[in-house]
């Protein structure tokens, strides 16, 4: 490679071009005394574990050598679903196949760092404890990555350089600080986050048990198993005030107490990974990027409530997460962390993976239990709650994957430390999936109680004036106007939305809330299990009414029917699906009622509903390029030659509202207009 450089330099000199100086390969990187570092005592001191089980100590050393190699560079390519979709697999193949990396660079595939918009993401760790992050990796930075790894000096094209606070110790994203940023938007994405639960995501190889242990994994489990009684673990959870991350926000510690106090000794733990909300992928990313953390959470929960069997109920559509969790389970079993008499104690646990059949309602806990026993996924009335009588009548703790992933952190650092983030009612951090009309969508973890503006503007990078509304908590959450409010359980429910699982969809000014509500109600009407008449036929009725409203067929009095039918469905449905299915409708009726009234009058204020719009040309901007004229598939645009911009005429009856003309116009002069005279 150096020969190549010389050749290039010589050629340039011959041609009389200025000489390019490359960053010299020397001086050699400073050598840190990492080879001698004994990581297990450091980790156990940090987590408050007194006696380290020899198995963990050994695996931690192995993992640490892979994670923070003392004299080699490490390239981590993000290969979660988002990375694969962006084509990261190609770069991984190219880098992993390099022969000149032998004994110099190790190439590993990792999970998702969270900045989904920047995929493919590549992290190059140099032996001095610096992480050079390259985003949107393409052929332009391919050589920069290779040179950074070989020469241990940051090359052009890196978006950000992170430094390990104590070089050689990496137990998650919290151990990193930003040293240099060449891409301020990318740094902003991380600065406002507090990555605890997702700390390992994008840093460790999800398929490697040693790497997880090397980053401090299973130390919390060992601490619980050897140095705490089950009662103490449950008490710690209660003290932490952790609330369920799946939707309703029930206190996790309380749920465990109920199950642990049951007379029935056959107790079961189930991790609910049937994540069906459109736009939410917290659980998927956690399972793909850090499956062992989920397992560790399940193991601690099982120890606390005295369960001997546990299940992970997975969504059918997550093949990568299923295969990674299956592998994680078999790795843990092979290492003796799962199975009979774990680590020589009397505690035994086996974990099974069950794949859901692919209905939204199966994520509801009682209907999930029905599915596990081979029945149709239909909820049953509660009480009895599953924590006292669940799977086959045994006490069953059902926790969301994200809730369980919080558990090792709480056991490791204590309830007190957990409460340092968040506020009294909603302690800790929460993972959100920021999607919609933001320049930087992604998977983020922020303290609960954070101002929503920080999420949307600083992390997401949206300009505040473009944002119209937020959809919080998926199709069962609510649509609320964009304003200042804190993201915590009570504040979000006080504005009529629901924290839900953590989907956060940003809607800009061109989105019609009535149309969106119609879309969400249709989703819920299709996904209702059909048991309750009001949920099944009532939602279908609502969907018809909304489709009439968006199709300019509204009738007077319709909005009142929408509102009281919505309340009836919420009040008379058996499970949380029906009770919350109308939340988008009720919140938009509360916050955007004028848009409903406008639709009744035949005007869509956002100019999004096709039945109510027509297209106009802003003549002052038009350059007479005829792009729209050529693109129109139905020839609804006619041009009178010689008249310039004024010669463009729309045939509104012929127009099919495909919006091709508006999209193709280079000067944005074709605009959709709702209401007013059709010219």
């Amino acid at each position: 490679m150096l020969a190549n450089d010389n050749f290039l330099t010589d050629t340039r000199t011959k041609l009389g071009l200025p000489k390019i100086t490359y960053t010299p390969a020397s001086p050699p990187p400073p050598v840190f005394p990492q080879a001698a570092m004994n990581i297990a005592p450091v980790l156990s001191a940090r987590y408050g574990l007194k006696n380290i089980p020899p198995l963990l100590a050994e695996l931690a050393e192995q993992g640490h050598e892979l994670l923070c190699p003392s004299n080699m560079a490490r390239i981590s390519v993000g290969l979660a679903t988002c990375g694969q979709a962006a084509g990261a697999g190609n770069w991984f193949k190219l880098l992993a196949a390099r022969l000149d990396f032998k004994n110099k660079v190790i190439v590993r595939h990792v999970g998702c760092l969270g900045a989904c918009y920047g995929e493919p993401l590549v992290d190059v760790r140099t032996p001095d404890g610096k992480h050079h992050i390259f985003g949107k990796v393409g052929s332009d930075v391919h050589w920069s990555i290779i040179r950074t790894a070989q020469q241990h000096v940051s090359q052009r094209g890196a978006w950000m350089v992170l430094r390990e606070r104590e070089p050689g110790i990496l137990t998650g994203f919290a151990d990193l600080e930003i040293e240099k940023s060449f891409h301020s938007a990318f740094a902003d994405f991380f600065v406002h986050q507090k990555r605890r639960v997702s700390g390992n995501c994008g840093l460790i190889d999800p398929q490697s048990l040693p790497e997880y242990i090397g980053a401090g994994g299973y130390f919390a489990f060992a601490k619980a198993l050897f140095e705490r009684t089950p009662e103490q673990v449950t008490a710690e959870m209660t003290a932490s005030g952790l609330r369920g991350r799946g939707g309703s926000g029930f206190k996790t510690g309380h749920k465990w107490e109920i199950a642990a106090s049951a007379n029935d000794q056959d107790r079961i733990v189930i991790a609910n990974a049937d994540e069906g909300d459109p736009g939410a992928y917290m659980d998927r990313t956690l399972m793909e990027s850090d499956p062992h953390r989920v397992l560790e959470g399940i193991m601690i929960a099982a120890y606390a409530v005295g369960a001997r069997e546990a299940y992970i109920f997975m969504r059918q559509e997550y093949p990568l997460a299923v295969s990674r969790l299956r592998q994680a389970i078999s790795d843990a079993q092979a290492a003796g962390l799962l199975g009979e008499r774990i680590l020589g104690t009397g505690f035994s646990l086996r974990i099974g993976v069950i794949q859901s059949a692919g209905a939204f309602v199966c994520g509801e806990e009682t209907s999930m239990l029905q599915v596990i026993t081979g029945q149709r996924g239909e909820p049953w009335p509660r009480p009895p709650y599953p924590a006292s009588q669940g799977l086959n009548g045994h006490p069953t703790v059902i926790n969301n994957v994200e809730t369980l992933a919080n558990v090792p952190w709480i056991i490791a650092y204590g309830a007190e430390a957990f409460r340092e983030q968040g506020n009294g009612d909603s302690p800790g951090t929460k993972i959100f999936c920021l999607t919609g009309d933001v320049p930087k969508p992604g998977f983020i973890e922020v303290p609960l109680g954070i101002n929503v503006r920080k999420i949307v503007e600083n992390i997401g990078g949206a300009a505040p004036e473009t944002v119209k509304a937020l959809q919080i908590g998926g199709p069962s959450g609510g649509i609320v106007p964009y304003s200042d409010f804190a993201m915590d359980f009570s504040a979000v429910s006080s504005i009529g939305a629901m924290m839900g699982s953590g989907g956060l969809v940003v809607l800009n000014q061109s989105r019609c809330v009535v149309d969106l509500t119609h879309h969400l109600v249709r989703f819920m009407a299709d996904e209702s299990c059909g048991q309750c008449l009001f949920c099944r036929d009532g939602l279908t009725w609502l969907e018809k009414l909304l489709s009439q409203l968006t199709a300019k067929q509204g009738k007077p009095g319709m909005i009142d029917i929408l509102e009281n039918l919505g309340r009836d469905i919420a009040g008379l449905s058996l499970c949380a699906l029906g009770q919350s299915a109308v939340n988008p409708l009720l919140t938009t009726l509360q916050n955007f009622r004028e848009e409903y009234d406008a639709h009744l009058a035949g005007i869509c204020p956002a100019a999004a509903c096709n039945a109510m719009i027509h297209f106009e040309i802003i003549h002052s901007r038009c350059t007479d390029c005829r792009g729209c004229y050529r693109a129109c598939p139905v020839k609804a645009i006619t041009v009178e030659a010689g008249k310039g911009p004024a010669g463009y005429l729309f045939d509104h009856d012929r127009c099919i509202r495909c919006r091709t003309c508006a999209e193709i116009c280079p000067h944005n002069c074709v605009v959709a207009v709702s209401g007013g005279e059709q010219k």
Binding site: V361, P381, A525, G530, L533, R536, M558, L574
Partner: protein, 223 residues
């Protein structure tokens, strides 16, 4: 013997067993509650949505289904109010859109609810219904020609009594299939016949199953 408790229904104080479904108690005491999916031998099925009553919770009356409530100490319910009339009428209209029904008794029950609601001054919302309530005069032949009507299982209210009954006989040949507005009942059995015990047709409130479950549902699988 379970504990006896006292619950209040329309200012009447009644004795009940803890955990007993409220609907069973109401039926036992012959209190007038319209239902289409209740059968004393099958228990509550939570399907027809007609058994709406109001429960007093922290001073407020909340509409609930009697079939989903269990008798607990201190339970206080009422069976007549204008909101109950409104909700039952709404449920009845939705059910009527699934008609016409082979047995007139269903329509009599539903129309009685509607006229009671009308007498209570509840406004008619039928003009907003997604599907028009079919006229009783639609002949069976016409129904057979309309493929969408067959797909919707027009004439069946999806009360699920046949499914439950078939399960109870030990055959378990009938099941709900699909979800949402595509929910339907289907006959799933690899054997040639279902045995013709006709238990399902005896419990069917609408007369949709006129001979056997197989005849009523087999042809409509995956339509």
């Amino acid at each position: 013997m379970k504990d006896e408790i006292r619950i209040i229904i329309d200012d009447l104080v009644l004795n009940a067993e803890v955990g007993m479904p409220l609907l069973s108690l109401l039926k036992e005491w012959k209190i007038d509650i319209p239902t289409l999916c209740y059968h004393s031998q099958l228990g509550p099925l939570h399907r027809c949505s007609l058994c709406i009553v109001e429960v007093r919770r922290s001073g407020e009356w909340k509409a609930k289904h009697a079939c989903m409530l269990a008798c607990t100490s201190g339970l206080e319910i009422r069976t007549i109010s204008s909101d109950i009339h409104r909700l039952r009428a709404r449920a009845a209209r939705i059910l009527l859109t699934r008609g016409p029904f082979a047995k007139p008794s269903v329509e009599i029950i539903l129309h009685r609810i509607l006229s009671a609601a009308k007498a209570a001054g509840i406004p008619d919302d039928s003009q907003f219904l997604p599907i028009e309530i079919p006229e009783e005069s639609i002949s069976k032949d016409l129904l057979d020609q309309d493929p969408t009507a067959q797909m919707r299982q027009q004439g069946c209210v999806l009360c699920g009594q046949c499914v439950e009954m078939c399960k109870k006989t030990g055959n378990n040949f009938l099941t709900f299939l699909g979800r949402g507005n595509k929910l339907r009942i289907s006959y799933v059995n690899t054997a040639a016949t279902c045995g013709k015990c006709r238990a399902c047709s005896h419990v069917c409130p609408t007369g949709y199953i006129h001979s056997t479950g197989q005849a009523a549902f087999a042809a409509k699988l995956y339509r």
